[in-house]
Amino acid sequence: MSETIKKFMYLNRRAPYGTIYAWESLEVVLIGAAFDQDVSLAFIGDGVYQLLEGQDTSESDMKNFSTTYKALGDYDVTKLYVEKESLEERGLTLDDLMPLTWEDEDDDWAEKDSIRLVSRAELADVLDDQDIVYSF
């Protein structure tokens, strides 16, 4: 749809449900996927809570959008950077997060992890290498 391919970064620093930012930013990611850009998501601070396994809104009557993260791979959104320090500060490990995968068509449709656990310093390098940063 567009000739220039830019590096798009979506910066996620908010927990889900308490405010709508996480859900509405995910809507941008889904729409943006149709534009064939080089997309990454970063989960920093409370943003890591978005990816917690086992979200159940049946009793709060909020919209449960956590399953949408699992569909991101189908939209070719395959780079989800999770900051290690943020997880640790919150007493979490990778095992507490939803398993998110994508199928690599260039590698015989091998299933690969979408979540990339990175240190703050590593993620800082990734952020600095972007063309555009969306914050919500």
Binding site: A124, L127, D128, F136
Partner: protein, 101 residues
């Protein structure tokens, strides 16, 4: 690549400044505006962290300082005051802008 980081929240209300400082690399710029300007004052609990960010240039938005009664002598050392035109220039001079909202 150099980045302009913008911080618009008080460091005592939210962790925007702390998050930003974790990502501001040498050669980058940090602009504090709106309630973010409280992070630019001297003698507060975050002043040491700001001073320790080596190679990072800090700016504060003059109109927001003025609105909040913060005169220049209350600012930590090394903080440069800019107006909205200066804000625009910072966005132009750096390659990307990261908003730590």
């Amino acid at each position: 690549m150099s980045t302009l980081h913008t911080v618009n929240k008080s460091p005592f209300e939210k962790n925007s400044l702390a998050d930003c400082l974790g990502y501001a690399k040498e050669g980058s710029a940090v602009l504090m505006y709106e309630d973010g300007v409280y992070g630019a004052m001297k003698g507060n609990a975050v002043a040491e962290k700001v001073a320790a960010a080596s190679g990072v240039k800090f700016y504060a938005l003059g109109p927001d300082l003025k609105a909040r009664g913060i005169s220049e002598e209350k600012l930590a050392e090394g903080i440069e005051v800019v107006d909205y035109a200066g804000f625009v220039n910072l966005a132009v001079e750096n390659d990307i802008v990261s908003a730590w909202v």
